[in-house]
Symmetry: C4
Subunit: 196 residues, 4 copies
């Protein structure tokens, strides 16, 4: 049993380290203003938006994992494999964010960004499932402690965003991720105040 | 209770990791000398100054957090959110430092640098407040264990620096941060020697 | 004895940190598409393959180490030296991966990639040996808990890949690493299901 | 007392994290071959030498610290300040290594590299001193557990290297660091075998 605990700590530390590095190297691809003036900075407003979006999304993911892992005691081999798969997809964030920053109105750039976000979400569902199995949780949720309708809503928002990106308005995908982050934050806020 | 402790360790480790990465990737944007000679290196003296300033400022922040967190036992959800917000602002350091290095006498570059420094300071006040609430601290300070007049002085120095940057002398902001670092270091030094 | 435990944790944490950083900075060298379109992304398919290959290979190495170290109690000085040597060779991954991505059909690029992979494998055999000595393991394996024939097969696959790269088909080396990863994953999968 | 222990762990973890990042981002500045062939790689032999030298030097420093910190129980505020100063100087490694790699026969490049190495050595003497004070060690050494003559020899080798760089042969500094690393490794090897 003790060895399973260690397992958990080392995997959590590795996940945290990779997420911390991904979040921090995002800035290396943030474009410098052509002229250093407020106009020059304003010209990069989509770049700043994309940067903040990815940072917030990765931060929120770390926060959710942090809360979820705190309430479980054991992880199994599947958790580690699913975590590595999740980190693999998440490792593309600096790449897709950078492309999306520079091509904010390009359909491919936005879809690519959305595909990575979706694959990470699905990996988190896989991680969550493996944790439920490892800890013999009877009352299961799709993703960590979130009510299932929140997870479905989360996926629907992303898919609608992607649909609008392809059909009508390319930047829709990134705004969908923004709406999603705000939704999950307010869910969490309400959750804490209802509990208290 | 035990779960709150773990919370604290994992959040502290994550904060430390992000700060360590930010401090270390600063060097990736440090400009290489055009000609490798003492004259070539001297030509970059503002770059070296800006680099040292940001490293010292981030190091001091880690040090303050380190001391503050050691004396508390619990953190709450607000601490984690405030820490993520602080890390978000701090993550711009390599970006604003790099711009300031290359445009040391540019008002926008110095104000941008100062805005990030100020937002991180305000986030630290928020973190400190959340720690006081979580640990039912009766004798509260604005920022960690520092006497309130030090925190006010710290903010005033930064605001005066920014005012002088905008009105008279663009590099004032970075010198204000330098004065600030020296002030906080000497406060800490005096604090330890009075205690001893 | 206690001090040996600590030794183990700090060395494991350092190894994990370096591996996490190597895996995450791989993305910094991933080439951006010349035109942001599906054709532009498809033109980079060898780059994405090389990126995924290196990420999977490093992730698998972390996973193997993770499992192996969990079952031992002590490490000795040789383990630390062997770990530093392994990390030294592994630190070339972003370099050799980047060269191989951009010169997928170049013999030198593929051999260089393979040499790094082989040297890391040999270092892991060295680490494994030092762990066996430190823990007085009677039933020794060449590499961690893997049956010896798997380790020999692993080395043979890599050497055959390198031979084919030099003689017939340059990309053979990277496909050998792919076959190797799939082999080790299926071994691990079978191992867990036979045990269960 | 417990709080001092935690102090130690968090400072050790932060030091390790920064050293791990410095060692790993060295590769980002390693020059790619102009033509991907053995001749192209051979043309970079000084770059590979400088890379290996810095990696080995940083790895050895981590290893020495690791051994030294294991045998002490407490650290004080001076240890943390000295560690931050050491990390500040060490953070220049990727910068000075990169310049030295590309200008191997340039006096300024070699002296700059040597100055950083020397300043880190002096910082380590400072760290070592603070640990002796904090732990009331009666039998003090200049640097960790090394006999004082080794530390003096280490400093003399570096200073002679720098003298030769300035007067006769520019690359002398880097060869002095190489000799130094070999000396310290053999000292450590002898130390372990005499003890055993």
């Amino acid at each position: 049993m003790r060895s399973d605990f260690m397992n958990k700590e080392r995997t959590a530390a590795f996940t945290d380290a990779v997420l911390a590095i991904i979040m921090t190297i995002l800035v290396l691809d943030l474009k410098k203003p052509a002229t250093v003036s407020w106009a020059g900075l304003y010209a990069l407003h989509n770049n700043f938006f994309a940067y903040a979006l990815s940072f917030a999304w990765l931060g929120l993911m770390w926060y959710s994992q942090h809360n979820a892992w705190q309430q479980i005691h054991k992880i199994n081999n599947e958790t580690i494999v699913a975590s590595l798969v999740m980190l693999f997809f998440a490792s593309f964030s600096p790449y897709t964010t950078s492309i999306m920053e520079d091509h904010f109105f390009n359909v491919t750039a936005q879809v690519l960004y959305g595909v990575v976000v979706l694959l990470v979400s699905l990996s988190n569902i896989w991680i969550s499932h493996s944790l439920d199995v490892a800890n013999h949780v009877s009352k299961r949720h799709l993703m960590y402690q979130a009510p299932d309708w929140v997870t479905y809503l989360d996926l629907v928002i992303k898919l609608v965003g992607m649909f609008l990106t392809v059909t009508v308005y390319p930047p829709a995908m990134s705004y969908a991720v923004l709406i999603d982050i705000l939704l999950l934050c307010s869910m969490d806020y309400i959750g804490h105040h209802v509990k208290a």
